[in-house]
């Protein structure tokens, strides 16, 4: 499979069906399904810790806290468990974490079975980076994005974002989907768990 062929854009229903089937077949293998869950959990933890590292450190090491207190405070960091994030960003974070988990498991499968091209892996890396930045906007952290944009002289751009920075999370999701599409294209023509990838 050439890099040029695998780095096409998903333009047809068939592309999306291939991606879905590839992911479903990989997740039928228990160790990859567990890997996807662990990856999603790790991604979520990365997202929330980048926002509240100091608070997490206090929850883990602060004096005078019971185990229940520590669990309460750690749970506070996560969407839907605590109240730090609003509904829209909570959904976005869960979706992004799920996409990162799926991306990681597809990447792991591809590496173990076929090796991986630079373009395919770079897409996932960019997606995770954007997803982490997107999580930074979730707690009114558009300021975080402002800081990044100010490096390129475009700090004011953030005020033009109609969704208060949710746009970054949406872009991150797109990049992750693109990366997964590329990996799925790389697996076409083969078999996963005994089943043909091609529909």
């Amino acid at each position: 499979m050439s890099v040029a062929r695998s780095l096409t854009l998903p333009t047809s229903t068939r592309d999306w069906r291939t991606l879905g089937r590839t992911l479903r077949l990989v997740l039928t293998i228990p160790r990859y399904a567990v890997g996807a869950l662990v990856g999603a959990g790790a991604a979520m933890t990365l997202f929330v810790l980048t926002q509240n590292l100091q608070f997490a450190r206090f929850a883990l090491t602060g004096s005078g806290l019971t185990l229940e207190d520590r669990l309460t405070l750690l749970g506070e960091l996560y969407p839907f468990v605590g109240t730090i994030y609003g509904p829209a960003f909570s959904v976005a974070l869960v979706v992004l974490a799920g996409l990162v988990g799926a991306n990681l498991t597809l990447t792991a499968y591809h590496v173990r079975e076929h090796g991986l091209s630079g373009g395919e892996s770079a897409g996932g890396l960019v997606g995770v980076t954007l997803a982490t930045l997107g999580s930074g906007c979730a707690a009114c952290g558009a300021a975080l994005l402002s800081g990044v944009l100010s490096l390129v002289g475009a700090a004011g751009l953030v005020t033009a974002l109609p969704l208060d920075g949710l746009e970054v999370a949406i872009v991150a999701g797109g990049v992750l989907l693109l990366s997964m599409h590329w990996i799925a294209q790389g697996l076409r023509g083969g078999r996963i768990n005994g089943c043909p990838v091609d529909i």
């Binding site: 602060g62 005078g64 309460t72 506070e76 605590g82 730090i84 609003g86 208060d164």
Partner: protein
């Protein structure tokens, strides 16, 4: 001022999302807040001391379980040295004087930030009624207009001009900005503030807004921003928590009341 179509589009999108959220909340039977009435359920409404100086605790409001002390921080506090309490003298608080109760919450907030509005509604309100009124904890507000400064910076200037006249009226306007957040834009923040000052407080709204427009309180706004930046606040709300005067930790985002209470050991 920012009158761009993009800015108006952002407001339109946010209003649409807010309308959807309110609709869902209403369906779930959780709708509690009006917000369009003259004072609504603003617990600080009616404040304003006719121009009285605001040195020290001088006003009270119904704290839910009794009178709530509202004031401005004096020159000395019992709080440990920390960047978040830099230049704390003159800052507004409710509850016991900072450091004298078991817990102190110092919050840096942007009046245009939706998570700050959620924090105000869900957490600050319970701090007021369950911790501050009983003397267990103090809440200190510091403006941090960094997200949408075209709207929130004028709002913070109005807040500082209000605080100069009355701490209670200041908290009435803080509650107003968060409760009716989507009603304020860069175009009308001064005009609407003047109207609401006249409706919610005994102050002369035109005089307060005139002071804000003239930049008389820009330095006060900048003092809070500098303290927030020194404390490492990069998003809002940025919440700094002290127990027995000692800094414990900080959190970014709309921290729940339970988490605040647990962190403070209350």
């Amino acid at each position: 001022m920012d009158n761009s179509p993009i800015r108006r589009d952002r407001r339109a999108v946010l209003r649409g999302l807010a309308a959807g959220a309110v609709g869902l909340a209403g369906l779930a039977g959780c709708l509690e807040r009006g917000g369009d009435g003259e004072s609504g359920d603003n617990p600080f409404a009616g404040g304003g001391d006719g121009g009285q100086s605001s040195d020290g605790p001088d006003t009270t409001a119904d704290g839910g379980g009794g009178d709530l002390e509202i004031g401005v921080v004096g020159d000395d506090t019992a709080l440990a040295d920390h960047p978040s309490v830099r230049d704390l003298s003159g800052q507004p608080y409710f509850g016991p004087p900072p450091g004298e109760g078991a817990g102190t919450v110092v919050a840096f907030e942007d009046t245009s930030c939706s998570r700050c509005a959620a924090f105000e509604e869900g957490t600050v309100e319970r701090i007021r009624t369950e911790l501050a009124a009983s003397g267990d904890a103090t809440f200190v507000f510091r403006g941090f207009p960094i997200l949408y400064p075209s709207t929130s910076r004028p709002a913070c200037a109005v807040l500082e001009a209000t605080l100069d006249r009355s701490p209670r009226a200041h908290f009435a306007m803080v509650r107003e900005y968060f409760t009716n957040q989507n009603e304020y834009s860069a175009d009308d923040v001064y005009d609407r503030s003047e109207t609401r000052l006249n409706e919610l407080t005994d102050l002369d709204g035109a005089a307060v807004v005139a002071d804000a427009k003239e930049g008389a309180f820009d330095a006060a706004v900048e003092t809070d921003v500098a303290a927030g930046e020194a404390a490492g606040a990069s998003s809002t709300p940025a919440i700094y928590l002290f127990r027995d005067g000692e800094f414990r930790t900080m959190a970014s985002g709309s921290l729940s009341f339970e988490a605040v209470k647990t962190t403070l050991g209350l």
